[in-house]
């Protein structure tokens, strides 16, 4: 794990470097809260994608597919499709009407004080729950990366929290944007590499890959069952499975369009047109990423196996375990593990 540690420290050092650079350039409210509104379309697209493809959303989805097959892929579809709502209805009016937050838009039409108070309350509520999920994932990954060095889970979570505060307090929006851009690039590259490795494991015969996915052995107490992971119904079961799926879809289509940390990104660009183009960039990145996520999720189910995943860390570890398994079959293991894990670290 020494290579992993080195790459991890390199990532921390370079993000702190970005923060230092951003802190020196930051002058005034617009620079601090909106990166001086000079972020370009592709930069903001990568930053939005980086923000969205976080530890909780991405590791979790791969784990769901590795353990429950196709039903987990519904989360990938929802995560992508949510950006159609943002593109058609949200991004441009938001950029045209507001200055720093969604509260500006609502305050424009309603009595400002109570509206802003409620928006602040709603933002803090959403962010608190969101952050807890991120910190759990980040803590688990850092513990994994620093395994053997005696760093406990609690120390890892605290460390990640302090690091994130440094990025935000000193570097403002410019630093967080660039940290997310770097993260999105690393994450996309690693996902692509892992997806190629998964398909390579099946000698690039898609039929073999899907055949393996549709016959996955799973132990139930004494007996072994063969399950088809391409069939729906392993997660969402009757009587309420269908309603659960519809409710989930509703959450994606309407909920994602209200995530404060995504919305705030549309204030970092110079105008509505750039905001629009940046959503399209994000849709290209997030879409490709989530399509590939099915190769990773099903691959983890077929190659590592749900039994092994459940006894070695559970849902969130499916991706890292897949990287490790592919490494042991004669691939550069450490690079894959770190590549996969590192960028997830600063998910929020």
């Amino acid at each position: 794990m020494t290579t992993s540690l080195a790459v991890f420290l390199l990532f921390v050092a370079s993000t702190l470097g970005i923060t230092y650079w951003a802190a020196k350039r930051s002058r005034g409210a617009s620079a601090f809260f909106a990166a001086g509104r000079r972020i370009t379309a592709w930069q903001n697209g990568f930053a939005v994608a980086g923000d969205f493809m976080s530890a909780a959303s991405f590791l979790g989805i791969i784990g769901l597919m590795a353990l429950q097959g196709f039903d987990g892929f519904l989360y990938s579809v929802g995560g992508f499709i949510a950006f159609v709502t943002i593109l058609l209805l949200i991004a441009e009016p938001l950029r045209n009407t507001g200055k720093y937050t969604m509260g500006d838009v609502l305050a424009y039409r309603f009595r400002p004080r109570p509206v802003r108070a409620l928006v602040a309350l709603s933002t803090l509520t959403i962010i608190t729950f969101y952050m807890i999920a991120q910190m759990v994932g980040a803590g688990a990954l850092v513990t994994l990366l620093l395994a053997g060095s005696g760093v406990s889970y609690n120390v890892a979570v605290t460390g990640v929290g302090i690091l994130m505060m440094i990025y935000v307090v000193f570097g403002g929006m410019l630093a967080t944007t660039w940290v997310q851009i770097v993260k999105a690039m690393l994450l996309s590259a690693c996902t692509l590499v892992l997806a190629i490795l998964v398909l390579g494991h099946f000698h690039f015969h898609f039929a073999d890959f899907f055949a393996a996915t549709s016959a996955i052995a799973r132990h139930h107490k004494e007996s072994v069952a063969i399950e088809d992971f391409l069939q729906p119904g392993l997660r969402f079961k009757p009587p309420y499975g269908a309603l659960e799926m519809i409710s989930l879809s509703l959450t994606f289509v309407l909920g994602t369009a209200g995530l404060p940390h995504v919305l705030v990104k549309f204030y970092t660009v110079p105008d509505a047109k750039t905001a629009r183009n940046s959503v399209v960039w994000a849709m290209f990145l997030i879409g490709s990423f989530y399509v590939l996520s099915s190769a990773l999720g099903f691959g983890a189910g077929a190659i590592v196996g749900p039994d092994f995943i459940l006894t070695h860390g559970g849902t969130n570890m499916a991706g890292p375990l897949l990287a490790k398994a592919l490494g042991e079959i004669g691939r550069p293991e450490d690079v894959a593990v770190v590549g996969f894990a590192t960028p997830q670290r600063c998910g929020a």
Binding site: V77, I81, V84, Q231, A272, S294
Partner: protein
Amino acid sequence: MNNSGHNLDSSEWSRIASSDQFRHLIAVKKVFIIPAFVFFIVYYFALPILVGYAPKLMGMRVIGTVTLAYLFSLSQFVVGWVIAWLYLKAAAKFDALTKDILTEVDPARGESE
């Protein structure tokens, strides 16, 4: 178009808002955005509804062991990208109309946009 409103006084605002050109812009936007959004919602919600209420149909193997459910899910990505592409083309028209309105209000600003 961005922030240009800061330099307009309220009489100019209401004059633009009631102008035929502005109404035309809003109408053109609605003609694209509303059908696109409705189509997208119907197509997307067909997925959970069919998977939930017609699991036999969606579990049908279409190519090898690949199920209809998985192919339908992948088609959601294609539909999303196509809507984005169509929207970019339509939005270029919105931008042109916006520019015309701004040029009329303030020739200098319209040119610079």
